[in-house]
Amino acid sequence: MENIEKQLREAAGKLLSEKKVDALVGYEKGTLPYQTAPCVITEPGEADKLVWNSFCSVNLAKYVHDIIFQHRESQKRVKPEDRKKKVVGIVARGCTTRSIILHLQEKQYERDEVVIIGVPCAGYVSNKKLNLAAKGKEIVECSFDGDTLAAVTQAGSMSIPLKEVLSDSCLSCRYNNPIISDMMIGNPAPPMNPGSEYVNVDEFENLSDEDRWKYFSKEMAKCIRCYACRNTCPSCYCKVCFVEQSQPKWVGVSIDESDTQVFQIMRIFHQVGRCVDCGSCIEVCPMGVDLRKFLKKLDKDGVNLFEHRAGESLDSPPPLSAHSTYDKEEFIFEP
């Protein structure tokens, strides 16, 4: 891991000093023992603060999108002939590159506006699972020891097998190595267990309508409408989200059951063939809403109906953005 970090810092410093990128998005050490923080660096000297470990959780592709779009906004005041592109570097694991592919397919930015430093990924620690493993106690010290996590809480120290606290998205990850990159760091990571990808969905599908709705309602009742899920999601990049539109107003602002459900259902449905299962929305949710079950169901439908997985290849556009005469249509005529 240290070796990857060293190479990562060298590569990032080089990109910045050679002015191949104007800014670079990565992770830095956090102020809490079990977190890293996303960071944006612009000077070669800052490259030394980059880290790479299993606490690097949120998908950074959203930052690339935001930085480029903010830059374009500011370029509006510049004469067309003087306008410049802003090139953003990014530390990207498999799922991050899937998001970049999706951005490129959806024409959000050009390939030459992003420089991808690919890193192999062995999965990241889910805060929710870590909290459960620590029985709700605050973790005051935490370090990796091979495949285990040595944690100290106010109740004492404990050793947690890493596998037990890795995010569900990581455990069944199909693409833990970058799909596209401009440079690769480290050796390819060993495969995870994609065979178990839809286990939870299969179970959920077998429940009765009432039970499924009950579960959905229970999960949505936890939501406080902070929008952390939407804001971290690389696929949620609408300039103005429907939630914030008022003419017409699609959804009320309150946490009335129906308002929250409408917000979440509509966000989830906008992810058909677009969710890369990076798990960021689940990871950032302060209330622990189980969004993955519903997103994975759509993902499974995408695979079964269109043989498509979001961002798996630049040549395979999202099913709702493409048309084929062989597209399945039974679900329309015989739902």
């Binding site: 102020t31 977190q35 960071c39 406080i224 902070c226 952390a228 914030e244 009320g252 950032v284």
Partner: protein, 341 residues
């Protein structure tokens, strides 16, 4: 001040009893989270917990509140009245930091000139029982840096202090003493309590190791609205509302009319300075266009504007925003970094 002893294992039952005929809001385990919720009949509250994820301000200042109802007619609308007065209630298990948030929020909602009837009504009818932090729960706690204390009874009617086998209950206010009568016969507390409390308080305060500069950075904030430092904190911010929605002192809101067919409700709901929509004007102009400006606003509101207006920092040091920020933007670090400038 009256004091009483409550046997360790009897407390939860006493509160459960109160909930038989009174509205009780208390910490309960809700799947992975400890949350303040209405204690349904037969439910027992938690008495051993670190702190709740949601702040108890929610009880006085709920995320959404109907201010009035109206009937939309072909021409104009007819006022259907305002919601009735609330019932007597007990807010159990508040940590001293969160209890201080009520004192701070009173400045806003109980201002003699602009008295908020909804907030004040609940506040007046609610008896607050705190559980003092003899062992401060988190390393992210920093109440002592912003004017609080782990054993403080500021904003509290009844303060419960863990003495090992017993809870020592201090009945701080008249409201608290009234509640004492409802609790039945309880043995009196130790006569020498006051002197013993001092040692306990010192130990608890000593356990809070995180220190941040509180009012010390106010002079810098007064002078440095345009300082380049403000460019350094927001880059990773998701612009979500986690920090503001879990914060015990954040109190910004929006008022909207929610209409279903002809039934209209004027609703007050939480808003967050982290959202671009917060300052978006009808004309389309937005005076705060970047997350930098929004972050500066959040910090300045807590550490400068509130101090200007009410001579107190609008932060109680509970650590929620520190622990639950999805991208680890740490308000403690910001304050510490400013003090080094």
């Amino acid at each position: 001040m009256e004091t009483r002893l409550i046997k360790k294992d009897l407390l939860a039952g006493l509160i459960k009893g109160l909930a038989q005929d009174t509205l009780v809001y208390a910490p309960v385990q809700d799947e992975d989270n400890v949350l303040f919720k209405v204690l349904e009949k037969g439910m027992e509250p938690l008495t051993e917990y670190d702190n709740t994820k949601n702040a108890p301000k929610n009880f006085f200042f709920p995320q959404q509140e109907t201010l009035m109802r109206y009937l939309k007619k072909e021409r104009g609308s007819e006022l259907l009245g305002v919601p009735g007065v609330t019932a007597e209630a007990v807010l159990f298990g508040v940590r001293p930091c969160d209890a201080r948030s009520f004192v701070l929020l009173d400045n806003i909602f109980d201002d003699p000139q602009y008295r908020d009837p909804y907030y004040v009504d609940r506040r007046e009818k609610t008896t607050i029982i705190s559980i003092a932090c003899t062992r401060p729960p988190y390393t992210a706690c920093f109440c002592t840096s912003v004017g609080g204390h782990p054993l403080s009874s500021e904003g509290v009617d009844v303060s419960l202090i863990d003495l090992g086998d017993n809870w020592l209950a201090e009945f701080v206010t008249e409201k608290g003493e009234k509640l004492m009568k409802k609790l039945g016969d309880l043995p009196k507390g130790d006569e020498q309590w006051a002197s013993k409390k001092e040692a306990l308080a010192e130990k608890a305060a000593g356990a809070i190791t995180t220190k941040i500069p509180g009012k010390d950075i106010k002079p810098w904030l007064d002078e440095n609205f345009d300082h380049p430092f403000w460019d350094t904190i927001h880059a990773s911010c998701l612009a979500c509302g986690t920090c503001t929605y879990l914060c015990p002192t954040c109190h910004c809101f929006d008022i909207t009319d929610e209409i279903k067919k002809s039934d209209g409700r004027r609703v007050r709901s939480w808003d967050s300075c982290m959202y671009w929509l917060f300052t978006h004007e009808t004309s389309g102009h937005n005076p705060r266009t970047s997350q930098k400006q929004r972050w500066r606003q959040r910090f300045m509101h807590k550490f400068k504007y509130f101090v200007d207006n009410f001579d107190a920092i609008a932060c109680v040091g509970c650590g929620r925003c520190v622990m639950y920020c999805p991208v680890n933007i740490d308000i403690r670090k910001i304050a510490q970094d400013i003090s080094k400038l």
